[in-house]
Amino acid sequence: MRALGIISFEDNTANIEGLCDHRPVPAIAVMGRYRIVDFILSNMTNSGINNVQVYCKEKPRNLIEHLGDGSHYNINSKRGKLRILYGEKSFSSDVYNHDVANYMLNMQYIEEDSNPYVVVAPSYFVYPIDFNDVLKQHVESRADVTVLYTNAKEAKTQFLGCDVLKLDKFKTVTGFEKNRGKLKSQTISLEAYVMTKKLFIELVTKAAETSSLYWFKDVLADSVGELNMKGYQVKGYVACFNSLPEYYRISMELIDHKRALGLFKPGWPIYTQTNDSCPTIFSESAKVSNSVVANGAIIDGTVEGSIISRGCTIRKGAEVKNSILLPGAYIGENAKLDHVVVDKYAIVHHIKKLEGTNESPVYVQRRDRI
C-alpha cells in the first residue's frame, strides 16, 4: 500500500486516570498481553503499510521499549521502517505540545518519505480495519480527505469528548462537533484520515501558521467546505479507550470470546512484543471462569470475570472478581478484589478487601504495595 502510516496521539480529552500517570495511552497494557498501540499498528502493517511513524506526546521510554524496531509488527527491516517520533525540544507549556507541533518538528521525515498518501490514525480507538479499502474509496470518491467514523449506539456514555461528524446524504463532511453525551446515537469521528501526503503537509503547515495552539483536527474543521471531505464508515467493533471507566468497561466486554472476535479477526493478527513467558499454571486450588488469562501467570486462587495479564500471581484463597490485573501484579493469600484495576507489579498483600464499581473501579498504582 502506497501510504505512510502516521500514528497520532490523542488530545487531553483522553485520560485513563491513574494508568496515564506512568505511560502514554498507546503504551497502556490491555487484554493481558497487548498494548493499546498494537491494534492500530497491526492494522497498518496488515494493510501493507511498511513505513510507520508513531508520534509520542511524552514519556516515550515505555513505547520505545515496546515497539523496538518494529520487526515484531511484521515491518520489513530493509524496505520498511518504524520511527518513534516526539518533540526533541521541550515545550514551554503543555498546551503547545500537540500533534501539529510534533509533525512540524519532524517534518523532514514526513517530506522525505516517498509514499504519495498518508494514513493518519491515533491508537486509542481500537477496531479492525483494512486501510486498502479506505484508500480505494478515497481514490474512487475523489475526496481530498477521507475521515473514518463509526455509528455509535451508546454515545451518551461512550466516546465522550470525541469528535462528531456531520455528514450529508452523500457522506460529505459538513461539520465537526463534540460528543457531549446528549444523544444516544452519534456519528463519531475516529480521528483517522486518508489524504495525499502533499495535502497533509499543507494542512499541517496551515495549522501551524493559523495558531500555535491548533491541533490537526482544528485545521480540518476550518477546512470544511473548502476541501472535499468524505466519511468512511467502519462497520463492526469499535471502542475508544479515553477514560478509566471506559478502559474498564471495554476490557470487561472483551472477556466474552465471541465479542473479542469482533476485534481479533481471524487472518488479521494483532502483533505485540513477545515476553517468552512460560504457560500459565492453574494449581489444584485454582477456580477460574469467564476470564482472559495471559501466559506466565500462577493461579492458586479464584478468578471470575477478570483479565489476568502476563506474569501475575494469585495466591490461595485470593478472590479476583470483575478486575483487571496488569502484568506482574501479585495478589496475596485471601485478598479479595472486586472491580479493581491493579497496575503493573503492584502487590496487594496486606489488605483484605478492595471493592469498586463499574463507574469507578478502584485503581492500584504501579509498583504499589498495599
Binding site: A260, T274, C278, P279, T280, I281, S283, V292, V293, A294
Partner: protein
C-alpha cells in the same frame, strides 16, 4: 573468551519412530512440548543462555519444517553478527554424491568443512530430543580444568534404570575408564546424557579416521568414545544434577509434560534467568468460559476453554468445547476437543479434531493413548 571458541552441533536428524504419528510429518526435535515449545527449543535456548554464538543443526528426516524453524535464529537471540544457527543437511559435493548421514559421528564428519570454517577450539555435541536446562559454559570450564580431550555429561540413575542407558564406568577422579551400552549388569550408575564436549583438534583426527573405517557404525557411543578409550585419551564424566528427560516415546513425552505440573517442578520453565525461547505465534490470550473448570493444568495462550481440564497440559490455540472433559492428558497445539468429548490419559496430536461426544483413552489404561489424525492427509 573468543566469540566462537566453542561451537554447538545439535543432532536433529532422527525420526523418533517410537513417537509414531507425532513424527509422521515432522522430525522429533520439532514435536511440541509443554504446550508452546518444540523439543529443539531446549538445546537451542540452553546454547543461547550459555553464551554460545554458533550452532549447527544437523537435520535429515522430514526436515522442511525443522529447517525453516531453526533457521529463524532470532527466536533464541542467536542472530548475532558473529554467530547464528546453521542448518546442516546432507549435501551433494564436488567429489561425492548425495549421501545421507550414516550415524551421529558421520553427521559431524560430513560437516568438518563447516567446523573448519568456524575454527573452534571446542565442539559441543547435543541431541535434539532431550528436555533439560543446562549451562554448557560450566561444562566447558570443567573440560578445561580437567584438561580433557572429551567430557561427557552424565547423570546418576538407579541401577535398574542403568540397563536402559549408555553407562560410564569411572575411576575415583571421575575419569571414564569404560563405556557400556545398556549393560545387563551395570557397574556404575552414571548414565550418558548424549552431551559431549570435544577438543576439536583431537575430535577431528578421530572423525577422519572413523570415516575410513569400513567396520564403523560412525556413531559417537559405539565408535568414537571407544576409540578415545582405547587410545587412553582423557575422558571425563561431568555430573549433571537437575531435570533431564529423553522424550523418545509417547509415554515419556507424556510423563515429561506431566512433570511440569508437579509442585516445585524440577523443570521450572518460569525461571527468568534461564528462559526457554520459542516461536511467537501471535495467539490471543486464553479465553476461559463461564462454565469452565481448570484444575492443576499448564495452559498456554490462544486456548479457548469452555469445558473441564484437569491434570493436563493444554497447548497453543487448543479449543475445549462445552461439557468436554480433558483429564491427565497432553493436548498439542491446534487440537480441538469437541463438546462433551472425554479425553483421559491421552496425547492428542497437533490440529486433531476430537469429535463431539467422543471418548478417548481411559483412566485404567497402563499406556498413554496417542490420538492422531489417521487420514494421512
Amino acid at each position: 573468551m573468543r566469540a566462537n571458541s566453542m561451537v554447538a552441533m545439535i543432532l536433529a536428524g532422527g525420526r523418533g519412530s517410537r513417537l509414531y504419528d507425532l513424527t509422521k510429518k515432522v522430525a522429533k526435535p520439532a514435536v511440541h512440548f509443554g504446550g508452546k515449545y518444540r523439543i529443539v527449543d531446549f538445546p537451542l535456548s540452553n546454547c543461547a543462555n550459555s553464551d554460545i554464538k554458533t550452532v549447527g543443526v544437523l537435520t535429515q528426516y522430514e526436515s522442511v519444517l525443522l529447517n525453516s524453524y531453526v533457521a529463524r535464529d532470532h527466536y533464541w537471540g542467536l542472530d548475532t553478527n558473529d554467530g547464528g544457527v546453521y542448518v546442516l543437511t546432507p549435501r551433494e559435493r564436488d567429489t561425492t554424491n548425495l549421501e545421507v548421514y550414516r550415524g551421529t559421528a558421520d553427521a559431524i564428519t560430513a560437516n568438518i568443512d563447516f567446523l573448519d570454517s568456524i575454527d573452534p577450539e571446542y565442539v559441543l555435541i547435543l541431541s535434539g530430543d532431550h528436555i533439560y536446562k543446562m549451562n554448557y559454559a560450566k561444562m566447558l570450564a570443567y573440560h578445561k580444568e580437567m584438561n580433557a580431550d572429551a567430557t561427557i555429561a552424565v547423570r546418576e540413575v538407579s541401577l535398574k534404570e542403568a540397563t536402559r542407558f549408555g553407562i560410564m564406568n569411572t575411576n575415583k577422579d571421575d575419569m571414564i575408564v569404560e563405556f557400556e551400552e545398556k549393560p545387563a549388569h551395570p557397574k556404575s550408575n552414571l548414565a550418558s546424557m548424549g552431551i559431549y564436549i570435544f577438543t576439536y583438534k583431537t575430535l577431528r583426527k578421530y572423525l577422519v579416521a572413523d570415516a575410513k573405517d569400513p567396520d564403523s557404525h560412525h556413531d559417537f557411543g559405539k565408535d568414537i568414545i571407544p576409540s578415545f578409550l582405547n587410545d587412553k585419551k582423557r575422558l571425563v564424566a561431568y555430573r549433571f544434577r537437575g531435570y533431564w528427560k529423553d522424550v523418545g516415546t509417547v509415554d515419556s513425552l507424556w510423563e515429561a509434560n506431566m512433570d511440569l505440573l508437579k509442585e516445585n517442578a524440577e523443570l521450572d520453565l518460569g525461571d527468568p534467568t534461564w528462559k526457554i525461547y520459542t516461536e511467537d505465534v501471535n495467539s490471543l490470550p486464553q479465553f476461559i468460559g463461564k462454565e469452565a473448570k481448570i484444575e492443576h493444568c499448564y495452559v498456554t495462550q490462544g486456548s479457548v476453554i469452555e469445558g473441564t481440564a484437569k491434570n493436563s497440559v493444554i497447548g497453543t490455540n487448543v479449543v475445549i468445547g462445552k461439557g468436554a472433559k480433558v483429564i491427565d492428558s497432553v493436548i498439542q497445539p491446534g487440537a480441538v476437543i469437541g463438546e462433551n468429548a472425554v479425553v483421559t490419559r491421552c496425547i492428542v496430536a497437533d490440529d486433531v479434531v476430537v469429535p463431539a461426544g467422543a471418548v478417548c483413552g481411559s483412566a485404567k489404561s497402563a499406556e498413554i493413548e496417542l490420538v492422531a489424525d489417521n487420514e494421512g492427509e
